[in-house]
Symmetry: C2
Subunit: 102 residues, 2 copies
Amino acid sequence: MDDGRTPPHPDIAQIPLQLVLEALVDPVRRRIVAELAASDVDIRCGGFGITVSKSTATHHFKVLREAGLIRQYYVGTARMNALRTDDVESAFPGLLDLVAKG
Amino acid sequence: MDDGRTPPHPDIAQIPLQLVLEALVDPVRRRIVAELAASDVDIRCGGFGITVSKSTATHHFKVLREAGLIRQYYVGTARMNALRTDDVESAFPGLLDLVAKG
DNA sequence: TCCTTAGTACGACCACCATCGAACTTCGAT
DNA sequence: ATCGAAGTTCGATGGTGGTCGTACTAAGGA
């Protein structure tokens, strides 16, 4: 399970609303979530329409992951991002729709 | 309508999600919203279980009002606060429930 | 008329967070 | 074996927002 590169992912049921709102209040992070929500496939870190530096992007993905909103895994050097749609919807119903619709 | 003391209240349909999230990311403001959601009656500014100074409280109410979440009106010297439940629910379905449940 | 109560307005301060660049790691391809 | 592409880590910086105290205004009661 733990290949030493896959970061830990929290249990959504135990994430306080505070953490989720802090994650989603940033427009860059909300854009990431919206793009994932609109996509059929997972997206690598470099594949989003965001205009920040790579180090800043890394920071945003970490915040989203620790808030339980995305899952991350490696494919080669690419770090893939998946929206935890069902998890989030069960813990915070309606929230993803709000973000997706903008 | 305008008695010179009643502040302007924005049309909810035109409020960006950004503004609402900025309002709700603060735990003090979320507490205010939660208390209003749990109450049958409107509550004056001094009637909440928050532990900040009066000037800080004024600031929080202003943010909530400008985000379209509450309506404010005067009764004597007391400034009453009412949750705009239906407005918010129609513009951001599910959001108030998340805050109310905490 | 005072005095108290309720809240606002204004500055100042402080902590936090988004941001960046530079240096580094890891993987894949040449 | 090298090189480039993809991210990470670290430290520094700058702006913004939550906080407070003080001074102020408005309303109601003694």
